[in-house]
Protein backbone atom coordinates (compact mmCIF):
# COMPACT_ATOMS: atom_id res chain seq x y z
CA UNK A 1 0.00 0.00 0.00
CA UNK A 2 1.31 3.44 -0.84
CA UNK A 3 1.52 6.20 1.70
CA UNK A 4 -1.62 8.31 1.83
CA UNK A 5 0.62 11.37 1.21
CA UNK A 6 -1.60 14.43 0.84
CA UNK A 7 -4.53 12.58 2.35
CA UNK A 8 -3.49 13.28 5.92
CA UNK A 9 -5.64 12.03 8.77
CA UNK A 10 -8.35 14.45 9.85
CA UNK A 11 -10.00 15.47 13.08
CA UNK A 12 -13.45 14.09 13.82
CA UNK A 13 -15.41 16.18 16.29
CA UNK A 14 -18.71 15.42 18.00
CA UNK A 15 -20.64 17.94 20.12
CA UNK A 16 -23.76 17.29 22.20
CA UNK A 17 -24.74 14.13 20.34
CA UNK A 18 -28.03 12.46 21.31
CA UNK A 19 -29.27 9.40 19.45
CA UNK A 20 -32.18 7.03 19.97
CA UNK A 21 -32.75 3.52 18.65
CA UNK A 22 -36.36 2.34 18.36
CA UNK A 23 -37.42 5.05 20.79
CA UNK A 24 -34.76 4.16 23.39
CA UNK A 25 -31.96 6.69 24.05
CA UNK A 26 -28.60 5.05 23.26
CA UNK A 27 -26.25 8.04 23.18
CA UNK A 28 -26.53 11.06 25.45
CA UNK A 29 -24.53 14.30 25.40
CA UNK A 30 -21.58 12.76 23.62
CA UNK A 31 -18.76 15.18 22.82
CA UNK A 32 -15.13 14.47 21.92
CA UNK A 33 -12.50 14.99 19.26
CA UNK A 34 -10.71 12.06 17.66
CA UNK A 35 -7.12 13.14 17.27
CA UNK A 36 -5.52 12.62 13.89
CA UNK A 37 -3.00 9.79 13.67
CA UNK A 38 -3.81 8.32 17.10
CA UNK A 39 -5.04 4.87 18.15
CA UNK A 40 -8.12 5.65 20.24
CA UNK A 41 -9.91 2.83 22.03
CA UNK A 42 -13.61 3.07 22.76
CA UNK A 43 -14.32 0.90 25.77
CA UNK A 44 -17.46 0.11 27.70
CA UNK A 45 -19.71 -2.64 28.89
CA UNK A 46 -21.94 -4.57 26.45
CA UNK A 47 -24.85 -2.31 25.46
CA UNK A 48 -23.03 0.91 26.41
CA UNK A 49 -23.59 2.32 22.90
CA UNK A 50 -20.11 1.70 21.43
CA UNK A 51 -21.26 0.23 18.12
CA UNK A 52 -23.97 2.89 17.68
CA UNK A 53 -21.40 5.63 18.21
CA UNK A 54 -19.09 4.02 15.65
CA UNK A 55 -21.88 3.69 13.09
CA UNK A 56 -22.79 7.34 13.66
CA UNK A 57 -19.19 8.38 12.88
CA UNK A 58 -19.28 6.37 9.65
CA UNK A 59 -22.56 8.03 8.64
CA UNK A 60 -24.65 4.88 8.94
CA UNK A 61 -27.05 6.49 11.43
CA UNK A 62 -28.77 9.57 10.15
CA UNK A 63 -31.20 10.40 12.95
CA UNK A 64 -29.35 12.16 15.77
CA UNK A 65 -29.15 15.52 17.46
CA UNK A 66 -25.93 17.49 17.86
CA UNK A 67 -23.00 18.45 15.69
CA UNK A 68 -20.63 16.21 13.79
CA UNK A 69 -17.67 17.92 12.11
CA UNK A 70 -14.95 16.39 9.96
CA UNK A 71 -11.78 18.46 9.47
CA UNK A 72 -13.63 21.52 10.81
CA UNK A 73 -16.57 21.24 8.38
CA UNK A 74 -20.02 19.79 9.13
CA UNK A 75 -20.34 16.16 7.94
CA UNK A 76 -22.06 15.88 4.53
CA UNK A 77 -25.80 15.30 4.33
CA UNK A 78 -28.01 14.59 1.33
CA UNK A 79 -30.89 16.78 0.10
CA UNK A 80 -33.30 15.19 2.57
CA UNK A 81 -30.93 16.03 5.43
CA UNK A 82 -29.82 12.41 6.00
CA UNK A 83 -26.19 11.68 6.82
CA UNK A 84 -24.07 10.50 3.93
CA UNK A 85 -21.71 7.56 4.43
CA UNK A 86 -18.26 9.03 5.14
CA UNK A 87 -16.04 7.52 2.41
CA UNK A 88 -12.68 8.22 4.06
CA UNK A 89 -13.62 6.15 7.12
CA UNK A 90 -13.06 2.40 6.87
CA UNK A 91 -15.36 0.28 9.00
CA UNK A 92 -14.68 -3.27 10.12
CA UNK A 93 -17.77 -4.70 11.81
CA UNK A 94 -18.00 -7.29 14.58
CA UNK A 95 -17.15 -10.73 13.21
CA UNK A 96 -15.66 -9.28 10.01
CA UNK A 97 -15.82 -12.67 8.27
CA UNK A 98 -19.63 -12.42 8.31
CA UNK A 99 -19.58 -9.33 6.10
CA UNK A 100 -17.94 -11.09 3.17
CA UNK A 101 -20.48 -11.02 0.37
CA UNK A 102 -18.70 -11.35 -2.98
CA UNK A 103 -18.30 -14.49 -5.07
CA UNK A 104 -14.48 -14.49 -5.31
CA UNK A 105 -11.62 -13.22 -3.14
CA UNK A 106 -10.60 -10.89 -5.98
CA UNK A 107 -14.08 -9.31 -6.18
CA UNK A 108 -14.28 -9.04 -2.40
CA UNK A 109 -10.97 -7.18 -2.20
CA UNK A 110 -11.80 -4.88 -5.09
CA UNK A 111 -15.41 -4.05 -4.10
CA UNK A 112 -14.72 -0.62 -2.58
CA UNK A 113 -12.31 0.31 -5.38
CA UNK A 114 -14.84 -0.64 -8.07
CA UNK A 115 -17.58 1.27 -6.22
CA UNK A 116 -15.50 4.45 -6.42
CA UNK A 117 -14.54 3.81 -10.05
CA UNK A 118 -10.80 2.97 -9.90
CA UNK A 119 -9.19 1.64 -13.10
CA UNK A 120 -8.58 -2.11 -13.52
CA UNK A 121 -4.83 -1.53 -13.40
CA UNK A 122 -4.97 0.47 -10.19
CA UNK A 123 -7.15 -2.26 -8.66
CA UNK A 124 -4.68 -5.02 -9.63
CA UNK A 125 -1.79 -3.03 -8.18
CA UNK A 126 -3.65 -2.36 -4.95
CA UNK A 127 -4.52 -6.06 -4.60
CA UNK A 128 -0.96 -7.29 -5.17
CA UNK A 129 0.27 -4.78 -2.59
CA UNK A 130 -2.18 -5.75 0.12
CA UNK A 131 -2.19 -9.57 -0.27
CA UNK A 132 1.21 -10.28 1.33
CA UNK A 133 0.57 -7.82 4.17
CA UNK A 134 -2.37 -9.96 5.24
CA UNK A 135 -0.81 -13.35 4.70
CA UNK A 136 -3.00 -14.10 1.66
CA UNK A 137 -1.65 -15.31 -1.69
CA UNK A 138 -2.49 -14.79 -5.36
CA UNK A 139 -3.77 -18.35 -5.81
CA UNK A 140 -6.71 -17.50 -3.59
CA UNK A 141 -7.94 -14.67 -5.83
CA UNK A 142 -10.30 -16.70 -8.07
CA UNK A 143 -11.56 -18.84 -5.14
CA UNK A 144 -14.81 -18.35 -3.27
CA UNK A 145 -14.08 -16.52 0.00
CA UNK A 146 -16.43 -18.92 1.75
CA UNK A 147 -13.85 -21.71 1.25
CA UNK A 148 -11.12 -19.91 3.23
CA UNK A 149 -10.36 -20.79 6.85
CA UNK A 150 -11.84 -18.67 9.66
CA UNK A 151 -8.61 -16.71 10.21
CA UNK A 152 -8.10 -16.13 6.48
CA UNK A 153 -11.67 -14.89 6.12
CA UNK A 154 -11.17 -12.39 8.90
CA UNK A 155 -7.91 -11.10 7.39
CA UNK A 156 -9.57 -10.89 3.97
CA UNK A 157 -12.47 -8.85 5.38
CA UNK A 158 -10.08 -6.39 7.04
CA UNK A 159 -7.87 -6.20 3.93
CA UNK A 160 -11.00 -5.43 1.85
CA UNK A 161 -11.56 -2.35 4.00
CA UNK A 162 -7.92 -1.22 4.24
CA UNK A 163 -7.38 -1.50 0.47
CA UNK A 164 -9.42 1.70 0.02
CA UNK A 165 -6.81 3.55 2.13
CA UNK A 166 -9.10 5.03 4.77
CA UNK A 167 -7.90 7.96 6.89
CA UNK A 168 -9.73 6.66 9.94
CA UNK A 169 -10.22 2.95 10.51
CA UNK A 170 -13.03 1.93 12.86
CA UNK A 171 -12.74 -1.61 14.22
CA UNK A 172 -15.71 -3.01 16.12
CA UNK A 173 -14.26 -5.74 18.36
CA UNK A 174 -12.17 -7.22 15.55
CA UNK A 175 -10.47 -9.77 17.80
CA UNK A 176 -13.63 -11.38 19.21
CA UNK A 177 -13.40 -15.20 19.26
CA UNK A 178 -9.72 -15.26 18.20
CA UNK A 179 -7.10 -17.25 20.10
CA UNK A 180 -4.46 -15.14 21.96
CA UNK A 181 -1.74 -15.60 19.31
CA UNK A 182 -4.01 -14.70 16.38
CA UNK A 183 -5.32 -11.74 18.34
CA UNK A 184 -1.84 -10.40 18.96
CA UNK A 185 -0.86 -10.99 15.31
CA UNK A 186 -3.91 -9.11 14.02
CA UNK A 187 -3.42 -6.15 16.36
CA UNK A 188 0.29 -5.93 15.47
CA UNK A 189 -0.71 -5.88 11.82
CA UNK A 190 -3.12 -3.01 12.43
CA UNK A 191 -0.55 -1.11 14.49
CA UNK A 192 1.89 -1.56 11.60
CA UNK A 193 -0.66 -0.12 9.16
CA UNK A 194 -1.30 2.84 11.44
CA UNK A 195 2.41 3.68 11.78
CA UNK A 196 3.14 3.17 8.09
CA UNK A 197 0.18 5.13 6.76
CA UNK A 198 -0.21 7.71 9.52
CA UNK A 199 -3.92 6.86 9.75
CA UNK A 200 -6.13 7.02 12.82
CA UNK A 201 -7.77 4.03 14.47
CA UNK A 202 -10.91 3.86 16.58
CA UNK A 203 -10.77 0.49 18.28
CA UNK A 204 -13.90 -0.76 20.00
CA UNK A 205 -13.27 -3.38 22.62
CA UNK A 206 -14.11 -4.67 26.03
CA UNK A 207 -10.78 -6.42 26.26
CA UNK A 208 -8.79 -4.13 28.57
CA UNK A 209 -5.48 -5.92 27.90
CA UNK A 210 -5.71 -4.99 24.20
CA UNK A 211 -6.84 -1.44 24.94
CA UNK A 212 -3.93 -0.84 27.38
CA UNK A 213 -1.37 -2.42 25.07
CA UNK A 214 -2.17 -0.56 21.85
CA UNK A 215 -4.02 2.70 22.62
CA UNK A 216 -2.79 6.27 22.72
CA UNK A 217 -6.14 7.61 23.90
CA UNK A 218 -9.19 5.94 25.46
CA UNK A 219 -12.88 6.91 25.46
CA UNK A 220 -14.94 5.34 28.26
CA UNK A 221 -18.64 4.88 27.58
CA UNK A 222 -21.25 3.90 30.14
CA UNK A 223 -24.97 3.52 29.32
CA UNK A 224 -24.74 5.93 26.41
CA UNK A 225 -22.76 8.60 28.30
CA UNK A 226 -19.10 9.43 27.93
CA UNK A 227 -17.33 9.05 31.27
CA UNK A 228 -14.19 10.62 29.89
CA UNK A 229 -11.51 10.88 27.23
CA UNK A 230 -8.06 10.10 28.59
CA UNK A 231 -4.51 9.26 27.67
CA UNK A 232 -4.21 5.46 28.00
CA UNK A 233 -1.54 5.69 30.75
CA UNK A 234 -3.59 8.09 32.81
CA UNK A 235 -6.75 6.01 32.65
CA UNK A 236 -5.25 2.60 33.35
CA UNK A 237 -2.66 3.70 35.95
CA UNK A 238 -4.58 6.41 37.79
CA UNK A 239 -8.33 6.19 37.09
CA UNK A 240 -9.21 2.61 38.09
CA UNK A 241 -12.34 4.08 39.75
CA UNK A 242 -13.76 5.02 36.32
CA UNK A 243 -13.13 1.56 34.92
CA UNK A 244 -14.96 0.07 37.86
CA UNK A 245 -17.88 2.48 37.34
CA UNK A 246 -18.11 1.40 33.71
CA UNK A 247 -18.18 -2.26 34.77
CA UNK A 248 -14.70 -2.99 33.35
CA UNK A 249 -11.70 -4.77 34.86
CA UNK A 250 -8.11 -3.55 35.08
CA UNK A 251 -5.73 -4.94 32.43
CA UNK A 252 -3.90 -8.08 33.59
CA UNK A 253 -0.38 -6.54 33.86
CA UNK A 254 -1.70 -3.65 35.96
CA UNK A 255 -3.58 -6.01 38.26
CA UNK A 256 -0.32 -7.87 38.81
CA UNK A 257 1.46 -4.56 39.39
CA UNK A 258 -1.05 -3.60 42.08
CA UNK A 259 -0.77 -7.02 43.69
CA UNK A 260 3.01 -6.82 43.92
CA UNK A 261 2.74 -3.27 45.29
CA UNK A 262 0.43 -4.55 48.00
CA UNK A 263 2.70 -7.46 48.89
CA UNK A 264 5.89 -5.38 48.91
CA UNK A 265 4.18 -2.50 50.74
CA UNK A 266 5.62 0.21 48.48
CA UNK A 267 4.42 1.84 45.27
CA UNK A 268 6.23 0.85 42.08
CA UNK A 269 6.99 3.86 39.89
CA UNK A 270 5.60 3.09 36.41
CA UNK A 271 4.68 5.70 33.82
CA UNK A 272 3.26 3.51 31.04
CA UNK A 273 0.43 1.00 30.90
CA UNK A 274 2.25 -1.13 28.31
CA UNK A 275 3.19 -4.65 29.34
CA UNK A 276 6.81 -4.25 28.19
CA UNK A 277 7.36 -1.41 30.70
CA UNK A 278 5.43 -2.92 33.58
CA UNK A 279 7.14 -6.36 33.62
CA UNK A 280 10.72 -5.13 34.22
CA UNK A 281 9.57 -2.82 37.04
CA UNK A 282 7.57 -5.61 38.71
CA UNK A 283 10.38 -8.13 38.23
CA UNK A 284 12.95 -5.75 39.77
CA UNK A 285 10.83 -5.23 42.91
CA UNK A 286 10.10 -8.96 43.20
CA UNK A 287 13.75 -9.92 42.84
CA UNK A 288 14.82 -7.34 45.41
CA UNK A 289 12.22 -8.75 47.80
CA UNK A 290 13.45 -12.31 47.16
CA UNK A 291 17.06 -11.30 47.91
CA UNK A 292 15.99 -9.60 51.14
CA UNK A 293 14.14 -12.77 52.24
CA UNK A 294 17.21 -14.93 51.56
CA UNK A 295 19.39 -12.68 53.68
Amino acid sequence: MTNTGGKAAERYELHGIHATLEGRPVLREIGFTLEAGAWTSLIGHTGAGKSTLAKLLKGLISQFEGQYRIGGRPAARDRKGRMRVVPEIGFVFQYPEHQIFETTVQRELSFALRARGDSARAIDEAISRILPQFGLDEEMLPQSPLRLSGGQKRRLAIASVLIAQPRLLILDEPTAALDPLSRRALLDLLKGWQKREGGSILFISHNMDDAAEYSDRVLVLEQGRLLGHFGADELFLRRADLLERAGLALPEPIRLLRLVEELSGAPIPVESCREEEIWPAVQAVWRARGNKDER
Partner: protein, 281 residues
Amino acid sequence: MNGRSRLTIGKYIDRDSALHGLDPRIKLLGLLALMIVFLLLRSWTGYAASSAAVAGILLLSRIPLRSYLRGLLPVLPILIFTLLYHLALGRGEQVVAEYGFVRITREGAWEGTAIVWRILLMILPASALTASTRPLTLARGLERLLSPLSKLRVPIPQFSLMIVIAIRFIPTILGELDRILVARRARGFDYAGRNPVKRLTGFIPVLVPLLATTVQRADNLTLAIEARAYGDGRGRTVYRPLRFGKKDAAAAIWIAGIAALILLADRSGTVHALAVFLRLQ
Protein backbone atom coordinates in the same frame (compact mmCIF):
# COMPACT_ATOMS: atom_id res chain seq x y z
CA MET B 1 -31.31 0.62 7.16
CA ASN B 2 -33.36 -1.83 9.10
CA GLY B 3 -34.96 -4.67 7.21
CA ARG B 4 -37.01 -5.85 10.16
CA SER B 5 -39.03 -2.65 10.54
CA ARG B 6 -40.30 -2.88 6.97
CA LEU B 7 -42.01 -6.22 7.37
CA THR B 8 -45.61 -5.34 8.15
CA ILE B 9 -47.54 -8.21 6.55
CA GLY B 10 -48.36 -11.02 8.92
CA LYS B 11 -46.79 -9.35 11.93
CA TYR B 12 -48.08 -10.25 15.40
CA ILE B 13 -49.37 -7.28 17.41
CA ASP B 14 -49.77 -7.87 21.14
CA ARG B 15 -53.17 -6.77 22.49
CA ASP B 16 -55.58 -7.99 25.14
CA SER B 17 -58.59 -8.77 22.96
CA ALA B 18 -61.25 -11.44 22.55
CA LEU B 19 -59.69 -12.42 19.24
CA HIS B 20 -56.21 -12.79 20.78
CA GLY B 21 -57.57 -15.11 23.46
CA LEU B 22 -59.16 -17.62 21.07
CA ASP B 23 -57.74 -21.04 20.26
CA PRO B 24 -55.74 -20.85 16.99
CA ARG B 25 -57.64 -23.87 15.61
CA ILE B 26 -60.97 -22.02 15.87
CA LYS B 27 -59.44 -18.97 14.22
CA LEU B 28 -58.01 -21.05 11.36
CA LEU B 29 -61.25 -23.00 10.79
CA GLY B 30 -63.32 -19.81 11.10
CA LEU B 31 -61.15 -18.08 8.52
CA LEU B 32 -61.50 -21.05 6.20
CA ALA B 33 -65.32 -21.05 6.61
CA LEU B 34 -65.55 -17.31 5.94
CA MET B 35 -63.28 -17.59 2.89
CA ILE B 36 -65.53 -20.28 1.41
CA VAL B 37 -68.59 -18.12 2.08
CA PHE B 38 -66.91 -15.09 0.46
CA LEU B 39 -66.18 -17.18 -2.64
CA LEU B 40 -69.87 -18.05 -2.92
CA LEU B 41 -71.08 -14.41 -2.83
CA ARG B 42 -73.32 -13.34 -5.73
CA SER B 43 -75.23 -10.19 -4.79
CA TRP B 44 -74.42 -6.81 -3.24
CA THR B 45 -76.44 -7.66 -0.15
CA GLY B 46 -74.07 -10.56 0.47
CA TYR B 47 -71.08 -8.22 0.12
CA ALA B 48 -72.66 -5.75 2.54
CA ALA B 49 -73.30 -8.44 5.15
CA SER B 50 -69.74 -9.82 4.71
CA SER B 51 -68.25 -6.33 5.09
CA ALA B 52 -70.14 -5.87 8.35
CA ALA B 53 -68.85 -9.23 9.59
CA VAL B 54 -65.24 -8.37 8.64
CA ALA B 55 -65.54 -4.93 10.27
CA GLY B 56 -66.74 -6.70 13.41
CA ILE B 57 -63.71 -9.03 13.40
CA LEU B 58 -61.31 -6.11 12.95
CA LEU B 59 -62.96 -4.23 15.83
CA LEU B 60 -62.77 -7.33 18.04
CA SER B 61 -59.01 -7.57 17.49
CA ARG B 62 -58.48 -4.10 19.09
CA ILE B 63 -55.68 -3.47 16.63
CA PRO B 64 -55.64 0.04 15.10
CA LEU B 65 -57.10 0.25 11.60
CA ARG B 66 -53.85 1.97 10.55
CA SER B 67 -51.92 -1.30 10.99
CA TYR B 68 -54.37 -3.14 8.73
CA LEU B 69 -54.18 -0.43 6.08
CA ARG B 70 -50.37 -0.54 6.18
CA GLY B 71 -50.60 -4.29 5.64
CA LEU B 72 -52.65 -3.67 2.50
CA LEU B 73 -49.98 -1.46 0.88
CA PRO B 74 -48.02 -4.36 -0.72
CA VAL B 75 -51.18 -5.73 -2.42
CA LEU B 76 -52.37 -2.30 -3.55
CA PRO B 77 -50.79 -2.61 -7.04
CA ILE B 78 -52.59 -5.95 -7.56
CA LEU B 79 -55.91 -4.42 -6.47
CA ILE B 80 -55.51 -1.41 -8.76
CA PHE B 81 -54.47 -3.60 -11.69
CA THR B 82 -57.46 -5.93 -11.18
CA LEU B 83 -59.87 -3.00 -11.04
CA LEU B 84 -58.41 -1.29 -14.13
CA TYR B 85 -58.28 -4.55 -16.07
CA HIS B 86 -61.98 -5.24 -15.53
CA LEU B 87 -62.91 -1.59 -16.12
CA ALA B 88 -61.03 -1.38 -19.40
CA LEU B 89 -61.55 -4.83 -20.82
CA GLY B 90 -64.73 -5.97 -19.12
CA ARG B 91 -67.48 -7.82 -20.95
CA GLY B 92 -71.09 -6.60 -21.15
CA GLU B 93 -73.47 -4.60 -23.26
CA GLN B 94 -74.25 -1.48 -21.21
CA VAL B 95 -71.40 0.81 -22.33
CA VAL B 96 -70.77 3.78 -20.05
CA ALA B 97 -67.82 5.28 -21.95
CA GLU B 98 -65.54 4.33 -24.84
CA TYR B 99 -62.00 5.51 -25.69
CA GLY B 100 -60.43 3.56 -28.61
CA PHE B 101 -60.17 -0.08 -27.59
CA VAL B 102 -61.03 0.78 -23.98
CA ARG B 103 -64.72 0.13 -23.40
CA ILE B 104 -66.05 0.76 -19.93
CA THR B 105 -69.23 -1.22 -19.31
CA ARG B 106 -71.54 -1.31 -16.32
CA GLU B 107 -70.97 -5.06 -15.96
CA GLY B 108 -67.17 -4.65 -16.13
CA ALA B 109 -67.27 -1.96 -13.44
CA TRP B 110 -69.40 -4.16 -11.15
CA GLU B 111 -67.20 -7.19 -11.78
CA GLY B 112 -63.97 -5.25 -11.08
CA THR B 113 -65.36 -3.72 -7.88
CA ALA B 114 -66.75 -7.07 -6.73
CA ILE B 115 -63.43 -8.89 -7.26
CA VAL B 116 -61.38 -6.19 -5.50
CA TRP B 117 -63.93 -6.14 -2.68
CA ARG B 118 -63.75 -9.92 -2.38
CA ILE B 119 -59.93 -9.85 -2.22
CA LEU B 120 -60.14 -7.24 0.56
CA LEU B 121 -62.72 -9.35 2.40
CA MET B 122 -60.30 -12.26 2.33
CA ILE B 123 -57.09 -10.38 3.17
CA LEU B 124 -58.39 -8.40 6.14
CA PRO B 125 -59.56 -11.35 8.31
CA ALA B 126 -56.36 -13.21 7.38
CA SER B 127 -54.36 -10.18 8.63
CA ALA B 128 -56.51 -10.19 11.79
CA LEU B 129 -55.58 -13.86 12.27
CA THR B 130 -51.82 -13.32 11.93
CA ALA B 131 -51.91 -10.06 13.92
CA SER B 132 -53.77 -11.69 16.81
CA THR B 133 -51.93 -15.05 16.92
CA ARG B 134 -48.26 -15.60 17.67
CA PRO B 135 -46.59 -17.39 14.73
CA LEU B 136 -45.61 -20.36 16.86
CA THR B 137 -49.13 -20.73 18.27
CA LEU B 138 -50.47 -20.59 14.74
CA ALA B 139 -48.05 -23.31 13.63
CA ARG B 140 -49.09 -25.48 16.57
CA GLY B 141 -52.76 -24.94 15.74
CA LEU B 142 -52.10 -25.96 12.16
CA GLU B 143 -50.25 -29.05 13.36
CA ARG B 144 -53.19 -30.13 15.53
CA LEU B 145 -55.67 -29.53 12.73
CA LEU B 146 -53.61 -31.59 10.31
CA SER B 147 -52.77 -34.33 12.84
CA PRO B 148 -55.43 -36.79 11.51
CA LEU B 149 -53.37 -36.93 8.31
CA SER B 150 -50.52 -38.62 10.22
CA LYS B 151 -52.69 -41.77 10.19
CA LEU B 152 -52.17 -41.71 6.42
CA ARG B 153 -48.39 -41.58 7.09
CA VAL B 154 -48.13 -37.89 6.24
CA PRO B 155 -45.19 -36.68 8.42
CA ILE B 156 -47.17 -33.97 10.21
CA PRO B 157 -44.85 -33.50 13.29
CA GLN B 158 -41.84 -33.07 10.99
CA PHE B 159 -43.82 -30.70 8.80
CA SER B 160 -44.81 -28.71 11.85
CA LEU B 161 -41.22 -28.51 13.16
CA MET B 162 -40.17 -27.32 9.72
CA ILE B 163 -42.71 -24.49 9.82
CA VAL B 164 -41.76 -23.54 13.37
CA ILE B 165 -38.07 -23.40 12.45
CA ALA B 166 -38.83 -21.38 9.30
CA ILE B 167 -40.80 -18.85 11.36
CA ARG B 168 -38.13 -18.74 14.05
CA PHE B 169 -35.40 -17.98 11.50
CA ILE B 170 -37.12 -15.15 9.62
CA PRO B 171 -35.74 -12.44 11.96
CA THR B 172 -32.30 -14.10 11.96
CA ILE B 173 -32.12 -14.16 8.17
CA LEU B 174 -33.40 -10.59 7.94
CA GLY B 175 -30.70 -9.59 10.42
CA GLU B 176 -28.12 -11.33 8.23
CA LEU B 177 -29.43 -9.48 5.17
CA ASP B 178 -29.26 -6.21 7.08
CA ARG B 179 -25.63 -6.88 8.01
CA ILE B 180 -24.60 -7.56 4.42
CA LEU B 181 -26.40 -4.46 3.14
CA VAL B 182 -24.75 -2.24 5.77
CA ALA B 183 -21.34 -3.78 5.01
CA ARG B 184 -21.80 -2.95 1.32
CA ARG B 185 -22.91 0.59 2.09
CA ALA B 186 -19.91 1.07 4.38
CA ARG B 187 -17.64 0.11 1.48
CA GLY B 188 -19.10 2.70 -0.84
CA PHE B 189 -22.09 1.00 -2.52
CA ASP B 190 -24.56 3.85 -2.94
CA TYR B 191 -28.24 2.87 -3.13
CA ALA B 192 -29.79 6.31 -3.33
CA GLY B 193 -27.84 7.53 -6.32
CA ARG B 194 -28.45 4.62 -8.71
CA ASN B 195 -31.17 3.91 -11.17
CA PRO B 196 -33.77 1.21 -10.32
CA VAL B 197 -32.33 -1.40 -12.74
CA LYS B 198 -28.83 -1.01 -11.26
CA ARG B 199 -30.27 -1.14 -7.76
CA LEU B 200 -32.02 -4.40 -8.56
CA THR B 201 -29.01 -6.01 -10.23
CA GLY B 202 -26.84 -4.75 -7.37
CA PHE B 203 -29.10 -6.63 -4.99
CA ILE B 204 -28.63 -10.04 -6.65
CA PRO B 205 -25.04 -10.63 -5.34
CA VAL B 206 -26.38 -10.16 -1.81
CA LEU B 207 -28.43 -13.33 -2.21
CA VAL B 208 -25.33 -15.49 -2.73
CA PRO B 209 -23.75 -14.94 0.70
CA LEU B 210 -27.18 -14.90 2.31
CA LEU B 211 -27.96 -18.31 0.86
CA ALA B 212 -24.51 -19.64 1.75
CA THR B 213 -24.75 -18.59 5.40
CA THR B 214 -28.33 -19.85 5.64
CA VAL B 215 -27.35 -23.28 4.30
CA GLN B 216 -24.42 -23.37 6.73
CA ARG B 217 -26.73 -22.43 9.59
CA ALA B 218 -29.21 -25.12 8.52
CA ASP B 219 -26.41 -27.71 8.59
CA ASN B 220 -25.44 -26.72 12.13
CA LEU B 221 -29.08 -26.72 13.19
CA THR B 222 -29.57 -30.24 11.83
CA LEU B 223 -26.64 -31.45 13.92
CA ALA B 224 -27.93 -29.61 16.98
CA ILE B 225 -31.40 -31.11 16.59
CA GLU B 226 -30.03 -34.62 16.11
CA ALA B 227 -27.71 -34.14 19.08
CA ARG B 228 -30.82 -33.59 21.18
CA ALA B 229 -32.19 -36.99 20.15
CA TYR B 230 -34.79 -35.74 17.70
CA GLY B 231 -36.32 -38.54 15.66
CA ASP B 232 -35.66 -41.40 18.10
CA GLY B 233 -39.20 -42.59 17.43
CA ARG B 234 -41.14 -41.03 20.29
CA GLY B 235 -43.52 -38.14 19.66
CA ARG B 236 -42.67 -34.70 21.02
CA THR B 237 -44.79 -33.15 23.72
CA VAL B 238 -45.50 -29.44 24.13
CA TYR B 239 -44.99 -27.28 27.21
CA ARG B 240 -48.26 -25.38 26.81
CA PRO B 241 -50.85 -27.65 25.14
CA LEU B 242 -53.72 -25.95 23.30
CA ARG B 243 -56.99 -25.98 25.28
CA PHE B 244 -60.37 -25.76 23.66
CA GLY B 245 -62.52 -23.79 26.13
CA LYS B 246 -66.10 -22.52 26.43
CA LYS B 247 -65.35 -19.24 24.69
CA ASP B 248 -63.86 -21.20 21.77
CA ALA B 249 -67.06 -23.24 21.47
CA ALA B 250 -69.09 -20.01 21.63
CA ALA B 251 -66.86 -18.48 18.93
CA ALA B 252 -67.40 -21.54 16.71
CA ILE B 253 -71.18 -21.18 17.03
CA TRP B 254 -70.95 -17.44 16.31
CA ILE B 255 -68.83 -17.97 13.20
CA ALA B 256 -71.19 -20.66 11.88
CA GLY B 257 -74.17 -18.36 12.52
CA ILE B 258 -72.53 -15.38 10.82
CA ALA B 259 -71.54 -17.51 7.81
CA ALA B 260 -75.13 -18.76 7.49
CA LEU B 261 -76.54 -15.22 7.81
CA ILE B 262 -74.17 -13.92 5.14
CA LEU B 263 -75.29 -16.65 2.76
CA LEU B 264 -78.93 -15.90 3.59
CA ALA B 265 -78.40 -12.18 2.96
CA ASP B 266 -76.66 -13.02 -0.29
CA ARG B 267 -79.45 -15.25 -1.60
CA SER B 268 -82.66 -13.71 -0.19
CA GLY B 269 -81.75 -10.10 0.68
CA THR B 270 -80.55 -8.28 3.78
CA VAL B 271 -84.04 -7.59 5.16
CA HIS B 272 -84.83 -11.28 5.23
CA ALA B 273 -81.50 -12.06 6.93
CA LEU B 274 -82.07 -9.33 9.53
CA ALA B 275 -85.51 -10.71 10.26
CA VAL B 276 -84.05 -14.17 10.85
CA PHE B 277 -81.28 -12.68 13.03
CA LEU B 278 -83.78 -10.73 15.17
CA ARG B 279 -86.05 -13.73 15.56
CA LEU B 280 -83.04 -15.79 16.76
CA GLN B 281 -82.25 -13.11 19.35
